[in-house]
Amino acid sequence: MKTTLAPHFLRTSAAALLVMALPALAIDADGDGLNDVWEVIFAAQSLVASADADGDGATNGAESRAGTNPFDASSRPTMTLAPWAPTQLQLGFTRVAGKRYTLESKADLSLANWTTEVAEVAQTADQTTFVVSKPATSKFWRIAIDDVDSDGDGVLDAEERWLGFNPTTTRTERNDTLDLARVNAGLAAASVVTVATLDPRMSERWPDPAAIVVRRSGGLKPITVNLTFSGTATRNTDYTASIAGTTVSFGAGVREVPVELMPTVDANDAEGAETITITASAGSGYTLGSSTSGTVILENETAASLPSAKAAARFLIQAAYGPDQDSSADGDDVPENVEEVMAMGIPGWIEDQIARPANKLQPWVDWASVNGPALQIYGRWLQHSWWNRAMGIPKLRPDDAGTVAPDPLRQRIAFALSEILVVSDRPETLAVEARGVTNYYDLMVTHAFGNFRDLLFDVAMHPAMGIYLSHLGNQKADPVNKIYPDENFAREIMQLFSIGLWRLNPDGSRYLSNGADLDPAGNIVPAGQPIATYGNSDITELARVFTGQSFGNNVDFTLFPRDFTVPMKVWDEFHDCAPKTLLGLALPARTPSPGNTGSAGLADVNAAINNLFNHPNVGPFIGKQLIQRLVTSNPSPAYVARVSAAFANNGATVRGDMKAVVRAVLLDDEARNPAMMSLPTFGKLREPLLRVVNFARAFNATSPSGLIILDQMSLAHGQDAANAPSVFNFFLPAHSPPGALTQMGLVAPEFQIINASSAVTGANYFWEHVLSDLQPQGSSSSDNAVRLSLNDELAMIVPAGQIAQDVPSGPAMDPDPLIRRLDLALTGGTLPPRQYQIIREAMLRINPPTWQWHRERFRLAVYLITTSADFNVQR
C-alpha cells in the first residue's frame, strides 16, 4: 500500500494562515509582526518577522505564531509521521500550551478545501500524537496552529500561559485590574528586585531547609538576577543551596524565587553558629529595591545536641497539642513549651511529663454540676472539662486554691486510649451522666502511664462501660425463661480493647496458618490463611464471666440508684459460678460469696482480664494504634515490633507498662528521624478535634472568666471527646480512602471523617472563628466567650497603638515575620516557600479602607495555614 508522507504543511508557513482569520489578535505594541509576549519569553525583541534567526526553515514570524523558539533550530513547527499499528499511523508534534492545533486532511495538495478532522487547545506544553487510520489510497495531513482567547479578555491563551495568567478569566487571581491592562503594564514596566528571609532557622541535624526569597515586582518579563553569597559559612562545605551558581532566573510573570539552604552535617562539633547572607546585585532588566539581602543562621548541632526549635515543635505536634503562643516577655520568638522541650531534650521532657501528677477531668464536672447553671454553663460538661485539660488550665476546678502543672503528654495518651477503649456519651443514659463518663475517661488519664492490665480491669468494672456495652445488670443464664447473658461487652473487649479479630505477629501483621494451626473451634486453618483469635463460643463463655455486676453504690443487685463514679461490684448470687473455658483457659467452678462481696465473680473477671492481657496480640494490637494516633498512619512492621516488644517487657520484665510503650512510640527512630518527613507515605492526617486545640493554644485562647467553655466541635469537625458514633470510634484503624492510598495498600484512618461535607465545614470553622468566639454556636455569656489572644500577632501587622482601631492608618508591616511565627506555631516550621508566597500576597491585597483590614490580614494568614494540606497532614 502506498502511503505518502504528509508534506508538513503547517498553516503558519503557508498562505492559508492568512485565510484563517485569527479569532483574537496578538499583543504587538511595536507593530513588528511578532507577538510581544513571545518576544519577551525568547528575548527576541530585536528580530524581524521575515528573517529566520536559527536557520531552521521557519521564519521568525512563523515561530512567533507557532510559539516556538526562534533561536533553537530544533524548536519549530514540525510534524512527524510514523507507523503506529498495522492499520494506523501516528502524527507526532510538539505543543505549546494555549495554542490551538487543528488536524486537517485532503486527498491532494491543492490549497483549498482541506477537511478539519479535529481541533484542540493544548492545556499543557508537551509532545503528543494524533493517531489516524491508514488511508486506502494516498492522503495528506497538515496541522494548523493558531490562537484562541478563551476568556475574550484581549490576551491570547498562549500569552496568558506564558505569563502565568489564567486563560479562562478576564481577571486572573480575581484582580481588580483586567488581564489586558496588567499584561500591557507588566510588559512595559521595569522589574524591582528585593531579597528577604523566609525561614532563618537551620541546624546541622535538622535537615529542614532555611529559605531566603528573591522577589520582583513591577515587570512581567523574564529576568536573571545576580546574587552574592557571603557570611561565615562556606557554601558546599557547610551547606548547599537549591540553585546552581549565583543567579536566579525569573520566568515570565514569576514573582518569587526561593533559595533553599540545606545544612551539611559535619564532624566538627566544636564550631559555632555560622551565617549565610544572600545579596542581590545589579544586573540587566531590573533595579534593586530597598531590601537586597537576607541572612540565615546555621546552628552547629551535634549528635548530643538538644533539639532545635523546629524539632521540638514537630515533637509537640505528635506528643502534645503543638506549640503554644510565644510570650513576648522573654524577647525571643520561640514558644515557651517549645523552649521547654529544647531545654530538657525529648527523652527528658517525656520523663518530666510522666512524673507529673495526673490531672483528671472529673473535678471540673463536679464543680460545674453545682455551679454551672448559675454561670450559664449548661450541658456538655464532659466536653468543657476535656477542653480545660487540653488547654492546660492550671486549676482542675475553678475554685481550687492551688494550681497544677499541665500534663499534655498524659492528656494526649489518654485521648488516644479513649479512642480505643471507647465509651461514648451519645446514648441518652450516658449523655446526662457527665460525671460518670468523665470518671470513665479519667481511667485513661490515670493509667496513661500505668499498666495496661489495670486499665483493662478498671474499664471492665466501670459502670459507664457497663451501660455502654450493656454488661451491667447481666445475670447468669436462665434457660427456663430464655434469658441469657448479654454478649456485647464480651465481644468488644476482645475485638476492640485487647486482642483484635486475628492472631498477629509481633510486628502487627497477621499471623498466617502453617497448615496445621487450628481455629478457635478446633478446625485446621488452611496454610496461608489468617486465624481468628476467638469464636462465638469464646464470646458466649466470656459473657458468662461478666454476670452479676451492677452499680457499686448499692447493697442489692439493682439498677437504681445509679452512681457512675463508683466501680461496679459483683453479686455472686447473680454471677454464673459454673466452670468456663476462656480462649482455652479453664476456669474452675466458683463458690458464691454473700451480698456484693463478689469473690467468685471477681475471681472470674480477674482471670479473664489476665488471660486477655497476656495474649500476645495485645502489644502489637494496642501499640500500632497508639503509633497511628500520635505519629504516622502506616508505621513499618519493625516500628510496631519495637513498640510491642516494649509492651511485652519494659526492661524490668514487666508486661504492659504504658510508660515503656509511650517512650517506644515517641522515641523510635521512625518517629524522630527527620528524614522520615520527606517520605511520601509518612505522617498522618491530624484528628480534626486536635487541629482545633492546636489552633486555640497557638493563640492562647481564653475568656474573660478564664473558663474554657467549648463543645460540639463535631458540628464542623465530626469529632468530640468521648462522643464517638459507636464503639468503633470515629474512624477505623484500617480505613483507607479510595484512590492512591488504597492502591498503595495504605491506611489513613482520619480520612474517614473528612468528606465532601466536613472538608468544607472544617475549613469554615477556621474562617468564621479566627476573629470571633470559638464556641461553634456562640457562647451563652460574653464572660465565657473564648477568643484568641491576638495583640502580639496584630502588633506584627500594624503599630501596637492602632490595634483597637477599626481602620488603622498604618503603615502596614511586612507580613514575613508574622507568617514565620505562624509557621512555627502551627506546622512546626514546615510550611514551604510557595505557601509563604500565597499567604503573603493574599494579605497584601487587604488594605485600608477595608474595615479592620489588619484583623482580616491576620484571619487570612491563619485560615490559609490551618486549612492547608501542610497543616492538616502532620509529618
Binding site: 488536524l103 486532511s105 484542540e120 508537551d126 509532545q127 503528543t128 500524537t129 494524533f130 488511508p135 478569566t169 481577571r171 480575581r174 481588580d176 451519645r426 445488670g473 447481666n474 445475670q475 430464655k482 434469658i483 441469657y484 478446625n523 462465638n536 498512619s633 520527606s678 511520601p680 507515605t681 505522617g683 492526617l685 459507636s726 468503633f728 477505623l732 480512602p737 479510595p738 484512590g739 492502591q743 498503595m744 495498600g745 489513613a748 480520612f751 474517614q752 473528612i754 468528606n755 465532601a756 461535607s757 466536613s758 468544607v760 475549613a763 469554615n764 505557601q835 500565597i838 499567604i839 493574599a842 491585597r845 487587604i846 488594605n847 486549612t867 492547608s868 494540606a869 501542610d870 497532614v873
Partner: protein, 473 residues
C-alpha cells in the same frame, strides 16, 4: 471519509509514582468497563433510576417489625419472645398476596398502607451468607463457610455494605456498582453516590467515594467566591489564595489526598447547590425527623437529577440507635414510626414528581436480634426482615422464606434447624440475592453481577432467565 481518530499522549506526563498496584478486582472492572455500559440493558437508555438505602444501625429487632398472623406461627412468636412479644392490638394486619396474613409493627401505618397498595414488600429473614446454610449443625460444626464476625456490629454492618462476608473490606457493593455505572451519568463532578450520613462503606468504591451532604444540602465554603466581585477585596484575595493552594501538588500522598478531597468538595458544591435549589412540588411535606429531613433532601436531589447530570444515583441514610439490648419495645415504639412516616412522605414525593417507578428504597440493618429476651431487650442475631418500597416493585409480597419462629430448647429434640440458639436464625435469603435484584434493576448486567457481588454464584445462576427474587426485575 470519516476517519476515526484517537489521541495518545506519549511524553510529558509524569506517571503517578503513587500508583504501585491495583487490585485484581479493580483490573477486572476496568476490563469490563469497555463493554459494561452497553450491557447495562435493563433500564431504557437515559432512564433515571435511583436506589435509597436506609441503614438502621445497631441491629433492628425486625421480628417485631414483621410478625406472622397465622395462629400457630403467632403462638411460636409469643412463646419465643416472651416479654418482648407484641399483642395484636400493638400490630397492624397486612395481607400479602398468596400467603397467610402478617402484621407490621403498630407504629408503621404508612408502611402498612404502602404494602396493602402494592408499593411495598418485605424480604424475610435475609442476612449475610457466603454459601447457603441449611441448619444449625452446619453452623456448630463449621460444615459451611460462615461470615466473619457473626453477631458483631462492625463486621455485620460492614458485610451488609460490602456483601463480602468472608473478608474485611472497606469497599462496598454500592461503590462497586458506581465503579461500573458512574459513566452512565453525564457529569462526574457530583458522585452518583450521595450520603446524608458521611463516609460509609456501602458507597465506597475502588475508584469512587460518596458525596456527603447534610439535610440542608451541600455546604458552601465560607468567604469563597468563584469569580471576581467588585469591592470584595477580602473574598477575592481569600478565594484566589485557596485556588492557588488547591493547585499545589504534594509528593506526600496523604497531603495530596487531603488537597484533592477539598478540591472535589468545592467543585461538587457548586454543581449540587445549583441543581437542588428549586423547591419540592407544592403539597409535598416531610416530617421534621432525622430520617424525614434526610429523605426530603434526597427528594430534592432526585428532582435536580438533570442539573447533576445523574442518570443513576444511590442515596445513603444511616439512622443509629437500634442496638436495643435494653428497652427494645419502648425504643422501637418511638423509632419505627419515624421510619414509617418518613418513608410514607418520601413515596408521596416520588408520586408527586412522577418518579415512583424509578426509585427504590430499602432498609438494611446489622442483623436481626435474638427472639428470646435478655430480660430487658434482645441481643445480636443474624437473619432479619427488610422493607422495600417503590411504585415499580412487585408489591404486597413477602419475598424469601419467613422462618418458623420456634426456638430450640437447650437440650432435647431440635424444633427448628434454622435456630442456632436463642432465636438467632440462619438467613434463608442471602444479602447477595437481595442486592442482586437492586443491582440488576439499577442497570448492572447479569454478567457483571459477580463483580459487584462475588458470592452471587453460590445462590443464583447468572445465566438463569429467572430473576434472583422477582422483587423489582
Amino acid at each position: 471519509m470519516n476517519t476515526p481518530i484517537s489521541r495518545r499522549r506519549f511524553l510529558g506526563q509524569a506517571s503517578c509514582a503513587a500508583v504501585s498496584s491495583v487490585s485484581i478486582l479493580n483490573t477486572l472492572l476496568n476490563l469490563k468497563l469497555a463493554q459494561g455500559i452497553a450491557s447495562a440493558s435493563v433500564p431504557a437508555p437515559g432512564e433515571y433510576r435511583a436506589v435509597v438505602c436506609i441503614f438502621l444501625a445497631g441491629g433492628n429487632d425486625s421480628f417485631n417489625m414483621l410478625v406472622p398472623r397465622e395462629a400457630t406461627a403467632y403462638g411460636q412468636y409469643t412463646a419465643a419472645r416472651a416479654d418482648l412479644a407484641l399483642t395484636p392490638a400493638e400490630l397492624i394486619p397486612i395481607n400479602p398476596i398468596g400467603q397467610p396474613g402478617y402484621y407490621v409493627h403498630g407504629g408503621m401505618p404508612e408502611v402498612a398502607s404502602l404494602f396493602e397498595n402494592g408499593n411495598a414488600s418485605f424480604v424475610a429473614n435475609v442476612g449475610t451468607l457466603i454459601e447457603p446454610v441449611q441448619n444449625r449443625t452446619q453452623v456448630a460444626q463449621t460444615l459451611k463457610q460462615l461470615p466473619l464476625g457473626l453477631y458483631s456490629h462492625s463486621d455485620q454492618i460492614e458485610q451488609w455494605q460490602t456483601s463480602i462476608p468472608h473478608s474485611r473490606s472497606g469497599i462496598g457493593w454500592g461503590g462497586r456498582m458506581a465503579d461500573i455505572l458512574k459513566d452512565t451519568n453525564t457529569n462526574q463532578v457530583v458522585p452518583m453516590q450521595v450520603s446524608l450520613d458521611g463516609s460509609n462503606v456501602w458507597q465506597t468504591g475502588n475508584t469512587v467515594a460518596e458525596y456527603s451532604i447534610t439535610p440542608t444540602g451541600a455546604v458552601p465554603l465560607s468567604g469563597f467566591n468563584t469569580a471576581w466581585q467588585q469591592y470584595q477585596d477580602l473574598q477575592n484575595s481569600m478565594s484566589s489564595a485557596v485556588d492557588s493552594q488547591l493547585a499545589e501538588q504534594y509528593s506526600n500522598v496523604l497531603a495530596q489526598t487531603f488537597n484533592q478531597r477539598k478540591k472535589q468538595a468545592l467543585d461538587a458544591y457548586q454543581t449540587f447547590a445549583t441543581a437542588t435549589a428549586p423547591a419540592l412540588p407544592s403539597g409535598v411535606t416531610f416530617p421534621n425527623t432525622y430520617i424525614g429531613s434526610r429523605l426530603a433532601m434526597i427528594a430534592k436531589a432526585i428532582q435536580g437529577r438533570v442539573g447533576l447530570g445523574a442518570v443513576r444515583q444511590t442515596f445513603f441514610v444511616q439512622r443509629g440507635g437500634w442496638d436495643h439490648h435494653d428497652e427494645v419495645l419502648g425504643n422501637q415504639g418511638v423509632m419505627l414510626p419515624e421510619v414509617s412516616a418518613a418513608i410514607g412522605a418520601f413515596h408521596a414525593a416520588m408520586v408527586a414528581m412522577g418518579l415512583q417507578n424509578q426509585v427504590v428504597l430499602y432498609t438494611a440493618s446489622d442483623f436481626g436480634r435474638t427472639l428470646t429476651s435478655n430480660g430487658r431487650g434482645s441481643d445480636h442475631a443474624w437473619g432479619g426482615n427488610q422493607l422495600v418500597v417503590g411504585g415499580g416493585i412487585q408489591g404486597r409480597r413477602i419475598f424469601g422464606q419467613f422462618p418458623s419462629l420456634a426456638t430450640n430448647p437447650d437440650s432435647g429434640p431440635e424444633l427448628n434447624p434454622l435456630d442456632t440458639g436463642r432465636g438467632r436464625f440462619i438467613p434463608t435469603t442471602s444479602c447477595d440475592v437481595f442486592f442482586a435484584e437492586l443491582a440488576l434493576w439499577l442497570g448492572v448486567s447479569k454478567s457483571q453481577l459477580p463483580l459487584i457481588l462475588p458470592n452471587i454464584g453460590n445462590f443464583y445462576s447468572t445465566s438463569s432467565s429467572a430473576p434472583p427474587l422477582g422483587m423489582v426485575v
